[in-house]
Symmetry: C2
Subunit: 360 residues, 2 copies
């Protein structure tokens, strides 16, 4: 895997002692883990050696980086991609270019950049990375939007565009509608004129959540328990049956959601919060021609690594929505890098409603 | 549904009394059921009224018709398509044209024909059906091949061609490899140079079955229990990982089969013998990009009802294989229509290894 090769190249391996180079620091502060386990115990803020700036490299000062569930899974050792250890935590974020190598033509000091791929280790003050691993983003969007752009909004965008040809008036059903991806789906779909049917888990403050998602553009918000009730039929008098279902849960909730798909429709699974497999009645496949797919943003980026046109086009479309106020990040709390422990605690609470962003 | 419309048009409703018309009988003998239930109890051989021959109709003398599991499910009332009752059993078979209506141009007396769709009720001595519901087949293939052509070989053919672009040397994995479709898959794949990995249930005479399927062209025959064993890895030293899996079972067996698919590969479910849903690990969808689809020959035929080119092309390709001796029907036993009770008994045995064909 390309990313593992980069990590294992030792570019940011730790060495004893310190160096100064071209007036730039050759050390940074980074949240490092030496072995897999509970992130709150495994991570330490340490001095971390930066590699020399190669001709094709870019020296970046990190500005902000979120704590995503997949970052935690990577530290826990339960993710599908694991770095060589020790490693720096974090996979998403935004930084500002400090200096570029002599062969770098697409980036300039002062530019804002985000990683094109997982695995760079974004929870740190600075990094040196190949130009091909970074993508310029406009500086006229909020810092928090830039820091959280490359995973959730991109996942939502691709899933809405790549699996079914949806037209204004068509509908999409999704579970985990209050997740980062879920909120991005609601907003991007609303901007495209696509109606959303949003499934959320029942909770004490359900009505508050329903209102929040509706303000965001959700057409229908439905507690999970209602999915199997006969009243669901009434819903489809006012909205067309969805041709696309987006699944981040698995287990029973997903099977119930599947039942409401239009014949020939597609369900895309991108997460498994229930830690249970996806179970499909044979009849849904044979007689209703339901199609099951999976989506992984990391793989999409790998598949498009050599041709950045699609990536640039997606980022530009998303930034346009952000500028128009049509796409905002989920509720977030910022903390300085040094206060990572409290931020990790908060991000690991089961019903955490606020994304933690480390500001560096 | 088109077929239900045809059935409920009353064209072959029973009326009291009898008629003679243009020298042709206006009554036939048919295996009729008045209510859903055990086929052995529900079916009776009765006189059944033939409708008048309309301008676009064809009068057919049935020659042979098999007893398929889906025919039994339809009588039991558990199938996805159910006719108005009373109805004539059977959905597949071959007949010979006796007479044609004045507007019929594509069929002539003496032609062999098979139904283009389910629902005609083939267990009878004669039928009158619209020209569009019948398809001419060549008369230079064995009667039993013609009688069993339109369901199993067509299902196998479409599944091998329509879901993954397979090239000679590629491989396919399938369960229920000894079923009618399974045997057709083995033979058609062998003719196309595609290698097959065939999963069968363990049984006392396993070695006999393995030999039989290998003679037919199977490259690998594997008892279900072996699927989860580490030795499966060795298999993939000599054969490429399959890009296509064909599933007629569901439940655990299917989940185990899925694990061996190539990244990005497709599993097509066309039956649910285990009467259990298909269960997919979330990781197979997200990280291995496994795609799940369903296939139903009846739906394919409905989708292609207005354009018979694809249907004719498929029948011609299959007849070519039959003529070359590369595609033979599964072991079968023939019985006269009157001996349907014994044939039904035999076809409902769980490990029945012989297809029952009613010869009329």
């Amino acid at each position: 895997m390309r990313w593992l090769a980069v990590v294992s190249s030792g570019k940011w391996g730790r060495v004893p002692g310190g160096l100064k180079r071209r007036g730039l620091s050759s050390w940074c502060q980074a949240l490092v883990y030496e072995k897999h386990g509970d992130p709150r115990l495994s991570l330490r803020l340490e001095r971390w050696k930066l590699p020399d700036l190669g001709n094709a490299d870019v020296h970046v000062k990190m500005l902000a980086a979120p704590i995503n569930p997949s970052d935690l899974n990577m530290i826990q050792g339960t993710y599908a991609l694991l770095p060589d250890l020790p490693a720096v935590g974090g996979n998403e974020g935004v930084g500002q270019v400090l200096a570029v190598g002599s062969h770098v033509t697409g980036l300039h000091p002062g530019d804002w950049v985000i990683p094109t791929d997982s695995g760079l280790g974004t929870w740190r003050t600075e990094m040196v990375a190949g130009e091909d691993l970074l993508l310029r983003v406009p500086k006229d969007i909020p810092l928090e939007s830039a820091a959280t752009l490359s995973v959730n909004p991109c996942t939502a965008y691709r899933m809405l565009l790549d699996f079914e040809k949806l037209r204004p008036g068509d509908s999409v059903i999704q579970n985990a509608a209050n997740s980062g991806v879920g909120q991005a789906v609601i907003q991007i779909a609303a901007a495209l004129g696509i109606r959303t049917i949003n499934i959320v888990r029942d909770r004490p403050d359900l009505q508050t959540l329903v209102e929040k998602l509706k303000v965001m553009g959700a057409n229908h918000v439905i507690p999970e328990e209602q999915l199997r009730k006969p009243e669901m039929k009434d819903l489809f008098k006012s909205v067309s049956r969805p041709r696309l279902a987006l699944d981040c849960v698995g287990g029973k909730s997903t099977t119930e959601m599947l039942r409401h798909l239009e014949r020939g429709g597609t369900m895309v699974t991108y997460g498994g919060m229930a830690k249970q497999p996806v179970t499909v009645p044979v009849s849904a496949l044979i007689f209703n021609d339901i199609r099951l797919r999976g989506f992984w943003m990391t793989q999409w980026k790998k598949n498009h690594a050599l041709n950045k046109e699609a990536l640039n086009e997606m980022i530009e479309s998303l930034c346009q929505l952000i500028r128009q106020g049509k796409l905002t990040p989920p509720a977030f709390t910022t903390s300085p890098l040094e206060e990572y422990r409290a931020a990790l605690d908060e991000s690991m609470k089961p019903f955490s409603s606020s994304k933690q962003i480390l500001v560096i």
